[in-house]
Point group: C2
Chain length 194, copies 2
């Protein structure tokens, strides 16, 4: 793991929902995370049920969570908004928990990268968040004047919709400076991908 | 996540230790994994204490585990053995839980890759396993005729010592065919690494 230097990265907004049935999130001052995520949140837990994102598992299979929180960036949301001809995308519309600024190509951040929030919580990047119809529906609901925004979001948000993350170190998640550690770059020659 | 096709990968040995105080592992027929790893194992659990591998945390900090099991490959161990002028490296000397064959450059496998063992357990790659002095000491202890093998191992095993992994789907871990899913290749331009 290597520190990324000369970044001026920060968390600018923390969001959550008090209602586990509500997909949208709303700004809060801070969250106190434990190793299972945000206590009371719909994504809280070490485990979850497999769904459409894991077609290799039978639906409903108990599996390691890997998506306790979601993190998005100011820059990536601005790029989605521009592609959709909207003034802005609110991170709460798409259920995000953290809005960061100052990390280039945030959604492409390597898996296994660590985000350090002040002296408190540390999150592990568990992969980019595939744009889903719930997020698209959130954008559409907030902009009732235009049809088709749900499907347009899914297309426009590819590689820009942020990451899913697990808690590596429990602690407070609040706005403020963010430090970043990334795995050292390595090339895996790999095989034929399908 | 993309399937890697045309691989002929298999698990050829499963190893564990009945004694949590023993670093070395020994062949077993199969292991029944739950989401915390190998029941009774020294690395069992969702959490562990931070140590020398995480200099960014105070020693002893409670953190997400990420290293419930370790996996090594026949090909990588052969390369270490050749570099050390030894006939072979036994996976049990270095505390491995799974020995696989047929995945090229196994230790360089991307973080977030999934290994499917038959219809049972699925492991997530949480990063390459930094060669440590315990593993080096295991190699030295098994080859008492030569001095300095512990330090030589740490050097020779770089990028060849296999991976650490978490359980994504509980189930049986046994010898047999292995399927591999890897995250799609992406380029993160990144920043200055230190």
């Amino acid at each position: 793991m290597k520190a990324v230097r000369h970044l001026n990265a920060e968390a600018v907004q923390i969001l959550a929902t008090p209602d586990p049935g509500d997909f949208a999130t709303h700004p809060v001052d801070a969250l106190d995370l434990d190793l299972q995520g945000i206590p009371g949140d719909r994504h809280y837990g070490f485990a979850r049920r497999a769904g459409a994102r894991e077609p290799w598992y039978a639906k409903g299979t108990t599996m390691r969570s890997g998506r306790q929180l979601t993190v998005v960036s100011v820059e990536d949301l601005a790029a989605i908004a521009a592609a959709m001809d909207l003034p802005a995308i609110d991170p709460g519309w798409i259920g995000a928990n953290v809005l960061v600024r100052g990390i280039p190509d945030f959604t492409l951040l390597p898996w296994g990268s660590r985000l350090f929030f002040g002296d408190g919580a540390v999150l592990v990047n568990e992969g980019d968040n595939a744009p889903c119809r719930y997020a698209g529906a959130g954008v559409a609901a907030a902009n009732p004047g235009r049809a088709g925004l749900d499907r347009l979001f899914v297309k426009a948000a590819r590689n820009l919709r942020g990451i899913v993350a697990s808690v590596e170190r429990p602690g407070r998640l609040a706005a403020g400076p963010v430090k970043l550690l990334v795995p050292p770059p390595k090339h895996w020659p790999g095989g034929t991908l399908s």
